[in-house]
Symmetry: C2
Subunit: 505 residues, 2 copies
C-alpha cells in the first residue's frame, strides 16, 4: 500500500458520500417533473435547496481541500490512471465549488425549483409576463454565479459554459458554429427548393398513445436500455436522470397525432440512459464513474436518436414491427415513404421536434441570446422580442406565441444558461464517434438492418462509457477518433443523407 | 418579545430543518414502493441510510440539547400552549434519539430498506426461507433498539410501542384487547351461525380496474381529500405518506375481481391523508403541526373506511354512482344486497381485507407474536409455525401459504415491530370520536345519505387535526369525547351494525 493510500481512500469515501447526497436530490427533481401534485412545489423547492446547500457545504469542506492539497503533491501514476483522474477532477470541482458562496448555491437551487414550476404554468397559459419575474431572478443569479467562477479574460459566459462542457470556450463554439452555419443555411435553402418532397403527413396520422408507449419502450430495449435498471415515465419536458448504478429514469411525452415526438424522444433519452448505465459500477460516485460533459452525453442521445433511429437501416429492421403496432395508420405506407416522413426537413418553431438539419440553428439562436443575457445586454423583459427577431432572421418565420417561442424550453427556468450549446456539440461529437465506430466495426447499416445494435453499444461502452472522466471532452474525441473536434463529420453526414433523400445532386 | 424568544426560534428553525430532511427520505421511500425499478434497491438503501444517519445526527446535536435544557427551565405559558407543546415534544424526541447510537440508526435504516425489497420478492415467490435471514437481522436490531430505549421495569416491547403510540403500554393494550376479544369471539360465532347471510359474491364480480380507479378517486375527493395537494398511485402494500403541507401521497392496489380492496383501501388511505392535509401549515415541521400517534392516525383512516365508507347511509348517496361505473356487475343489485356484500363477516387470511369484526383479531395475533419476538421467545425461523398455530386458535383456519400467512404484511420487513397494535387502537379511538361527533353534530347518517361529508371532516379538522401534538393520545380522547380510552364505543358499534345486518337479535 502506498503511503498516500489512506488519504486517497478518505477522499474517495468523501466524494462518494457527496454524490450519494446529490442523487437524493435527483430523485426529488425527477418526482417534481413526473408525479408531484401542484401543491407540493414549495415544499419541494425547500427540500432540494436543503440538499443543494448541504452538498455544497460538504463539497467545500476544508478537510477535502487538505486531502486534495496533499494528494496533488504525490506521484499517483500516469495522468490517465484512476487515481490521477479522480484527484484531478475532484480538485477541479472543489476549486469551482469553493468560489461559490453557500447562500448563492442555496438561493439558485430554491429559485430555480420554484421558477420551473412558474414556467410550466406560464407556458401552459402562454403568459410570459407571469414567468418574467422568475427569469429576471434567474438571469441575475446566473450573472452572479458566472462572476464568482470567472477565470481569465474571456466573457462571463465562458464560466457558465465550463459548468456543462469543461474546457470549452465561447470563442471555440463561435468559430465551429460559424463553419456549421455556413454549411447548413445553403443546405436548408436547397431542401426548401427541392422538387422531391416526402409526405410529412404520414407521421401525423393517429398513433394511439398506448401503442406508442409499448413500441418505443420495446425499441429502447432493443437498442440496449436495461429496464431492470431504469424506467420511463411522462413529463412535460423529456429528460434522463441517472440516479446511480441500477437506477436510471427516462421521461417522454405523447401526442397521439405525432409519431416522432415520443418515439425519437424515447430513443434520445435511452441514449443518455445507456451512457449512465454504461458507467462502471466499481467507480460509481467518483469522476472515473461519471460522464465527461453534457456535450459527450448528448452525443450518445443524438447518436441513438438520429444516426441510428432516423437511419433507413434501422427501419429496414423495425418498420414491419411498427406496422404491427399501428396497422391503421401504416398499413398502406412503404418503408421509404415512412423514412422520408420521419426525416422531413422544414424550419419549425420547436427545437426538440426539429429535424436533424435545422436543429442546430435552434441552438445557435439560443447561444446568441444567452451570451447577451449574461453580458447584461439583454434583460428578461426583452427576451420575447429578441427571440422573435432572431428567429425570423434564422428561420424566416416568427413563433405564433411565446409558449412556442422563448418559453418552449425548461432550461432557463431551471437556471441552465450555458447548457444549450452542448446540444449542438453533441451532434458534432456524435458524428465524429459514429464515423470512427464504422471504421472500426465495419458497415453499421448492415447490422442495424438485421436488428443488431449490440456492436455499436459495446463499442460505446468500451470507448466512451467505461472511461468516465478519464479525458476531457476534446481529448476524448481525439483518443477515440484520432481526429480533433470538428463539424466536418456532421456536415458530411447531413449533406449525404439529405442530399439523397431530397435528390439534391 | 420574551427573553427566551431567540432560543425558542432557534429551536423551531432546527426542528423544521430536521423535519425537512426527513421529508426527503419520505419521497425516497414513496418512490421505492411505487416506481423504483428493481435494480435501484441497493442505491435506495444507501440513500435513505445516509439521510437517516444525518437526521439522527441533527436530532441529537448538543446544541439542540442546550436549547432544550434552557427552554425547559423557562415559563413558556400554559401546558397546552404552542410553545410548551413544541418544547415538550421536541424534548421527548431528543431524549429518545440520544439513547440510540448513530450506527444502529443507520444500520436499521439500511437493513430495513433492503429487507423490504427481499420481503417483496420472497412474498411473491412464497419463499419464507429467502426472507428469514432478513427478518432475523430486523428482530435483532429491534431488540437492540428496544434495549437502548427501555425505561422503567415493563417489558422491552413497551419501548417499541412507545415509538408509535407514545405513552401506551403493553399492559394497557393487553387489558383492552382482552375486553374486546371477549366481545368479538361470541359475536363472530353468532354471525357464523346466523341464518341470514348477505351474498358475498357480488363484490367478486368483474370491476374493471380503470373504473375502480376513477370511482374510488372520485369518492376520496368527495369525502374531502384534496388532489391538488396529493395524489394516488399503486403499490404492493397500500400506504399514505404526508411529505409536508401541500404534498400527501396515497397508494392502493387493484384486483378486477374484488371491489373492496381498492375502494375501501383508497378511503382508508384518504382518511390518513385528510389528517395530514388537516395539520396546520403554520406549524408545519414542528410538533404542533404533526400527528399525535399512529393510533390516532389510524382512527382517521378507519373512520372514513368503515364508519363512513361501510355505512348504509354512505351507499344511499353513492350506490347509484357505483352502478354507473360498474353497470354490468351492479345493475341487478339492490342497495341492501350491496351493503351486505361489502360487510360480509368471515374469518379470512388477510388482515387488510378483513371485515370490521374479525379485523381486530388479526391485530391481536400479531401483538402476541411480536411480544414474544422481542422478549427472545420467538426466533425468525419459528415464525411461520407460530403464526399458523395462533391463526388456527383465533380463526379456526390455517393459511395456505406463508405469503398469505406471516409474510402478508410489509411491517416486519420494514422494522415496524410494535406498530400493529396501533391499528386496533385506531378502531377503538375511531368509534369514540365518531360517537362524540354524532353527539355534537347531530345525525351523521342523514348527512352521509345526502353526500354531505363536510361537517364530519371539519369537526375532525377542528378537534383533532388542528391540535397537532397538543395532547398525547389518551388525553386527546378525553378532551374530545369527555370519556376515557375504552373499547365500549367500538363493541357497541359492531354489535348494533352486525346485529342488524345478520338478524342476530
Amino acid at each position: 500500500m502506498s503511503s498516500y493510500q489512506p488519504k486517497y481512500d478518505e477522499l474517495i469515501s468523501d466524494i462518494k458520500r457527496i454524490t450519494l447526497l446529490g442523487s437524493c436530490a435527483s430523485v426529488l427533481n425527477w418526482d417534481r417533473e413526473t408525479y408531484m401534485p401542484s401543491g407540493g412545489a414549495e415544499l419541494r423547492a425547500e427540500q432540494v435547496s436543503l440538499i443543494a446547500g448541504l452538498e455544497h457545504q460538504w463539497a467545500t469542506s476544508p478537510r477535502l481541500g487538505e486531502l486534495l492539497d496533499e494528494l496533488s503533491q504525490v506521484d499517483l501514476g500516469a495522468d490517465d490512471c484512476v487515481e490521477s483522474v479522480n484527484v484531478r477532477e475532484i480538485k477541479r470541482s472543489y476549486e469551482r465549488a469553493t468560489k461559490l458562496p453557500q447562500q448563492l448555491v442555496e438561493e439558485l437551487s430554491r429559485v430555480s425549483a420554484l421558477s420551473q414550476h412558474a414556467w410550466s404554468n406560464a407556458k401552459e397559459a402562454n403568459d410570459f409576463a407571469a414567468f418574467e419575474p422568475w427569469l429576471k431572478q434567474i438571469i441575475a443569479l446566473k450573472r452572479e454565479q458566472a462572476a464568482c467562477l470567472q477565470q481569465g479574460d474571456g466573457p462571463l459566459y465562458d464560466a457558465l459554459l465550463d459548468l456543462y462542457e469543461p474546457g470549452m470556450t465561447t470563442a471555440q463554439i463561435q468559430s465551429t458554429f460559424s463553419v456549421l452555419r455556413d454549411e447548413l443555411v445553403p443546405l436548408v435553402a436547397k431542401i426548401a427548393e427541392a422538387s422531391k418532397k416526402p409526405d410529412q403527413s404520414i407521421v401525423s396520422r393517429l398513433f394511439p398513445v398506448d401503442a406508442q408507449a409499448e413500441f418505443s419502450k420495446q425499441m429502447a430495449g432493443e437498442i440496449g436500455f436495461d429496464f431492470h435498471r431504469g424506467r420511463i415515465d411522462v413529463s412535460a419536458h423529456p429528460f434522463c436522470s441517472g440516479f446511480g448504478p441500477g437506477d436510471c429514469r427516462l421521461t417522454t411525452r405523447y401526442d397521439d397525432h405525432f409519431f416522432n415526438m415520443a418515439f425519437f424522444g424515447t430513443l434520445h433519452e435511452a441514449g443518455h440512459g445507456m451512457y449512465e448505465q454504461g458507467l462502471l459500477p466499481e467507480h460509481a460516485g467518483t469522476p472515473m464513474g461519471s460522464a465527461v460533459s453534457l456535450g459527450i452525453h448528448e452525443s450518445q442521445s443524438r447518436m441513438w436518436e438520429n444516426l441510428v433511429g432516423r437511419s433507413r437501416s434501422f427501419w429496414q429492421h423495425s418498420f414491419s414491427e411498427a406496422q404491427k403496432w399501428f396497422p391503421e395508420s401504416l398499413k398502406d405506407v412503404s418503408l421509404d415513404a415512412f423514412y422520408g416522413a420521419i426525416n422531413y426537413v422544414e424550419p419549425s418553431m420547436i427545437r426538440v421536434e426539429a429535424d436533424e438539419v435545422t436543429y442546430n440553428l435552434h441552438i445557435m439562436l439560443r447561444f446568441e441570446l444567452e451570451q447577451k443575457m449574461i453580458a447584461g445586454e439583454l434583460e428578461a423583459e426583452q427576451i420575447p422580442e429578441a427571440w422573435n427577431e432572431t428567429f425570423k432572421e434564422f428561420f424566416g418565420i416568427v413563433p405564433a406565441s411565446d409558449a412556442e417561442g422563448c418559453m418552449q424550453d425548461v432550461h432557463w427556468s431551471a437556471g441552465y444558461i450555458g447548457y444549450f450549446p452542448t446540444y449542438a456539440l453533441g451532434n458534432i461529437y456524435a458524428s465524429q464517434f459514429f464515423e470512427a465506430a464504422e471504421k472500426q466495426l465495419g458497415n453499421l447499416d448492415e447490422m442495424f438492418a438485421r436488428g443488431d445494435f449490440q456492436p455499436l453499444k459495446e463499442w460505446l461502452n468500451h470507448n466512451i462509457h467505461h472511461r468516465g472522466q478519464q479525458y476531457p471532452a476534446s481529448k476524448l474525441v481525439e483518443a477515440v477518433t484520432g481526429n480533433k473536434f470538428s463539424a466536418d463529420a456532421l456536415t458530411t453526414h447531413l449533406k449525404t443523407k439529405f442530399g439523397s433523400l431530397y435528390d439534391l445532386n
